[in-house]
Symmetry: C2
Subunit: 534 residues, 2 copies
Amino acid sequence: MNGASSMMHTLVNNDVTVCFCNPGTSEISFVGGLDATDKMRGVLCLFEGVATGAADGYGRMKDWPAATLLHLGPGLGNGVANLHNARRAQTPVVNIVGDHATWHLKHDAPLTSDIEAIAGAVSGWYHYSGSARDLPGDTARAVQASLQPPGQVATLVLPSDAAWDPGRPPAGPATLAVPGAAPGAGGAPPAGRLEPAPQRSVPPERVTEIAKILAKGEEVVLLVGGRGFRAEGLRHAAAVGARTGVRVLGDRVNSRMERGAGRYDLVRIPYPVPQAIALLKGTRHMVLAGATIPVGFFGYPDQPSLTAPPDCEYHVLAESDEDVIGALSMLAEEISATPDPDRAGRYDPPALPTGEISIEKVWAAVANLMPEDTIVSDEAVTSGRSSQGQTAGARPHDWLNITGGSIGQGLPAALGAAIACPDRQVFAMESDGSAMYTLQGLWSMAREECQVLTIMFNNGAYRILQGELERLAPDATGHTSKAMLDLTQPDIDWVSLSQGMGVEASRANSCEELVDQMRSALTGRGPRFIEVMV
Amino acid sequence: MNGASSMMHTLVNNDVTVCFCNPGTSEISFVGGLDATDKMRGVLCLFEGVATGAADGYGRMKDWPAATLLHLGPGLGNGVANLHNARRAQTPVVNIVGDHATWHLKHDAPLTSDIEAIAGAVSGWYHYSGSARDLPGDTARAVQASLQPPGQVATLVLPSDAAWDPGRPPAGPATLAVPGAAPGAGGAPPAGRLEPAPQRSVPPERVTEIAKILAKGEEVVLLVGGRGFRAEGLRHAAAVGARTGVRVLGDRVNSRMERGAGRYDLVRIPYPVPQAIALLKGTRHMVLAGATIPVGFFGYPDQPSLTAPPDCEYHVLAESDEDVIGALSMLAEEISATPDPDRAGRYDPPALPTGEISIEKVWAAVANLMPEDTIVSDEAVTSGRSSQGQTAGARPHDWLNITGGSIGQGLPAALGAAIACPDRQVFAMESDGSAMYTLQGLWSMAREECQVLTIMFNNGAYRILQGELERLAPDATGHTSKAMLDLTQPDIDWVSLSQGMGVEASRANSCEELVDQMRSALTGRGPRFIEVMV
């Protein structure tokens, strides 16, 4: 058994059973190793940003990592943008980067580059596995590192000789119990299942202190983030809000929000800085439950970086690597708050739209037609501004946001979510500017027969930037600046692009066509693509 | 005038007149600044790898930099792969990366990341321009740095406040004459033109030493690299070879080779290590003229890293940052070698092919039909193995290779070359696996009406990796490993993809169709795309 095969068994022994691959020559032994077990699903991606974004989407849905396979520094570079999103989403990812044979590195062959430098910008854990001998243990440690609460990108560099040299027996989770212990000698992995390090409980006295702040009668915001966006966290947070009258708001950036009928919805801090400032006006205390201090997505010349008032005091109920849901539960118990079922979302979707297409009507159709347990990968950007209100009364569903601001995440995240949850419908809500970065994701959806319905809001522009240009460069009225934000000339034909990638596609020219096409997609098998011009 | 406008004037004052842009909010003032002068051409790219690859192609043709505009760390990440190729090609590139406002950075807003770490892996020069006050001088220095022989990627980080704050007058080239001098106060740039630092001449005694080695009567290879691939360098090298009988070979990796009728062709060291070893067998001395010691693209378990024999002695005639052409000329003069016009390439293209399509016939058609001064961007990979022989007798042309091994360079490089040389025909010779990484480049070709004819060899596979799998993992005969190298299921319809990007496309099912379609492309205006199934 060579190093690669042993690595593959080790991954499987640790329940890492999907690898989003974009291999090259230095990864060929790893590719061969995929055949070493029938429990590892290799998903070919035709661009590395698809692989890393899919691993992010998978990890968000499973709370367990998938692996990636990337080709040296340049391949890692192509994966950086979506690894950045995964970092901000605190998603567990085992990010495997192939490299030259150890003894080949010193010759500075053309593909040699500083992998560690690039990886450092996106990884919470980094390790260069220097030999086949170390590979099983290093692999198990990478899985464990990825699960370090709240979750992180663990990058493991795999030199090609470590993959092809004779390997040690695979490591299993039990070997991790004794740090530094040698892997079992018998080839059979130890029994058991790798458990992520438990999330630390918050100390009760901290909860008591927070309860006192809530009782002060001053303007308080309870800001929910991270795992707090799961249904249970939102229920406790809503109970606290109902009991005390404090406002419960949500971090803009979050990895997965459980929404819809039966769940407790909340308002997320809006993207535009003036709106965020208006929402937070008067806040004297902000209690952070897995959230970070609200900061504008960008700085603006006439706006502060922080969107809460300057005299706002911040109080941490739970850090993101602590047990956020537990902390919210403790707080609710401390103040004797119980969830009020009447405040839970009711199933009350908008009516099916008719007539001319508009952004709002598309969201109404989505809200009306989405099956229970749908996963929404939201990269609609400016076309998504009415999405939250429209879908609040839909069937229960999960919502995946862009976390790190790197566009090109929506299609890959939808791919990964569909692989993670094959029995659930996935919606990829896309915009033309964003989808273009990683449109190769469509091909992998077709190959894997993923149940993804992509709806493309095609507005022919970097619309969000047009607003920023008017605001930040009002004197720029020339042709060149306008052209840099315009996606027409030529028009992009997304139906043609999707079909070229093997995904059945159509354009909906009216709400009736949209509803028909969506129904067909939702009752059929495999991916579908619908373009609407907005 | 704000910082961005002053920067724009400074770029133009230094003859940087093209910017390949993929902007975001933090770059909006720069986008507005594009309107500050009608001498700056903004070329919108829908993915950063297109922008950086286009800057590489442009710089290779002009020996002068274009600028890029990228969006923070993730945008830079997307550009890394083609910046890596530019680094290996020693191409001058002014790589501008927008960043948060200086005072916004400390809040770790979602898009914040370690730009310097990522940039370090691909940049020969890096600078963070901290204020509008410093921006003109820093910009001029970035241009100068990019031109440091032999050429390099100069990354300048542009915080958004440096762009929108009131600026200083633009800097011109003359300010660079006195290091650290303040830019001129009058707003008008000083007269003159920035000159790159001269390439150092090699010392005559080194040439004399090399001449002695050539005279020894032992097996010598003169290995040409870098600027030595220009027609003049090849002519001198050929003269040396004819006079002394030493073999003249070429570095595999090179940025631009001047070939075809009237030029002196040479054999480049082949990609497969066994073939490279066979070619170099018996070599006792290797004289390096702008080339590096030949190393396998990858290491293999049963092959050495270096492809020349272990007892080969290496002798440097010229480092890549020295005057390689001058050194070859001095060497020719030292040994009284004059070019033999009879050894120059004759115009003797293959006949136009007929009948069934094959890879060799496609190259014959290219060689036959290419107009004088065509630029070939070669990313045909395995489909390109017969290209050199077939095209040696074509009209004079320039050949651009992948230098750093990062695929996804061909379409962007063709875009950049077409922008650099609008009066010349460009051929992008593509393969399906490679082109997929940066297919967005087609859209920019359509918008800019570039004279690029893309010919797509569609073999439905990562063919090069199929060979590596057979060799490196002969036991891997399972379904998963095979699937990772297969680009069918679903088939990719490149005609549809190209049309979706706005580039007129067709499939050629016979040589007659191919020739017809190529003639139509070559006589028409704007980009065209022809797919052949091989």
